[in-house]
Amino acid sequence: MSERRPRSGPSVGASLLALVGTIGAWWAVAQIHVAGRPLVATPAATMGALSGAAPTLGGDLAATAARSGVGLAAGIVAGLVIGALAAILVHRAPVIEGLLDLARSVPPVLILPVCLLAFGYNEMARVATVASGCVWTMSLAVITAASSPRSVRREMLDVAGAATLPALAWTQPWESLGILVVGLRTCASTAVVVAVVTEMIAGAERGLGSRVIAAQIVGDTAGLTLDVLAAGVLGYVVNLGLRWLERWVRRLET
């Protein structure tokens, strides 16, 4: 019988090789020219652009992060309230879940003109658009959490003679955490995308979306590549934080 060899752990050498390979691939793509212009700037040119853009890039990154964060928070709060109300009513009117799903299917960026008409060309419209991208996903997550099958724990509380509200308090917030965190992760990714696109379409004094459009107008490929990378870093950091939160919740559940 052959012995199974244990899988080797992560290697620093392999990671360095992957990093060097990625930079090499990036450099190769930067050599592709379309209509006389490179598709993306080379790694060296992008790093060069960073030194010039650093003072303003940080502010724009922070503006997009703040816009995403405030919109996300507003969307989450509204989603929790709408989801809780819908969860109470959905047994009597199952159509509610379908309506929420329909609302979620509307691309959030399409809501931007509605918000611009409602609030005018201001920050409120941008934040409301981001919030609209999160609210329906979150409310559906709440419905899913609330309709999960009765757990053995709920039966224990019934046997102990617990009334409905104490029984809910002992179980529901905790048993819902896993589903809500997954909803939160989806919402956070959406919030960053919608915030950047909103800045690109409606414009904003500060923000990565505005930078991208400005770089595109003046044909600054190195600046554009840098801004795209910065948006990626923002999304990656948000995702990293939420993955940590998700792991923590999973540990709590077991």
């Binding site: 053995v152 724990r153 102990a160 002992w170 559940e253 077991t254």
Partner: protein, 205 residues
């Protein structure tokens, strides 16, 4: 005093009856072992007594609220996000008893020696989780304890100690013990009820 009673109770399953005219009377202080092969209807009978499964026919006099219960799925019955102490205190906290944590602490010290009561229940081993479920059942303020194979995950070296604790802490309460272990019956029970094909047959321990 009768604490719970089933009189010719039947429960219909999807394909066949899970209980057929099963009868059982539990008085205060009774120590009854519920025996039978797997799938005979032991857990169904317990669930009917606890009002977790409705009876299709027959009369059920359910025990008053606050029954101590160790379910077969003991691990899923704990609240993994709360401490061991809060888990054990749960039935008394629900019953708004002021002594909830004092009783829970005494039982935790006795049943889970060496375990920090502030430890999250989710971090316990399988045997420790089952012992926590047993401590919680004993902390219940009701007059009946129902334990569905409460020692199945407990190490053999600890079983005797836990049986002794169960015997001592039961007091005047009735015990319905679902078990396959003859030594549990000999140690803890005065009479047996066998379930065969959903029907109950009374006997001595």
């Amino acid at each position: 005093m009768i604490v719970a009673q089933l009189d010719r109770v039947s429960v219909l399953g999807r394909d066949q009856p899970m209980l057929r005219e099963a009868s059982l009377t539990l008085h205060a202080g009774d120590r009854v072992a519920l025996l039978g092969p797997n799938g005979a209807g032991k857990s169904t009978l317990v669930r009917v007594l606890l009002a977790l499964t409705p009876a299709s026919e027959g009369t059920v006099q359910r025990a008053a609220a606050g029954v101590g219960y160790v379910p077969q799925g003991y691990a899923e019955s704990l609240f993994p996000w709360f401490s061991v102490l809060r888990n054990v205190a749960m039935p008394r906290l629900i019953a708004r008893r002021e002594d909830a944590y004092d009783i829970a602490r005494t039982l935790t010290d006795r049943i889970l020696p060496g375990i920090d009561p502030r430890r999250r229940a989710g971090r316990l081993s399988g045997g420790e989780k089952q012992a926590t479920a047993l401590a919680r059942a004993l902390a219940s303020p009701g007059d009946l304890v129902i334990a569905d194979e409460p020692f199945s995950a407990i190490a053999a070296s600890s079983r005797e100690r836990l049986r002794r604790t169960l015997r001592e802490k039961l007091g005047a309460r009735a015990l319905l013990l679902v078990t396959h272990d003859a030594s549990d019956v000999a140690d803890l029970c005065e009479r047996t009820v066998r379930i065969i094909d959903g029907r109950t047959v009374e006997g001595a321990a």
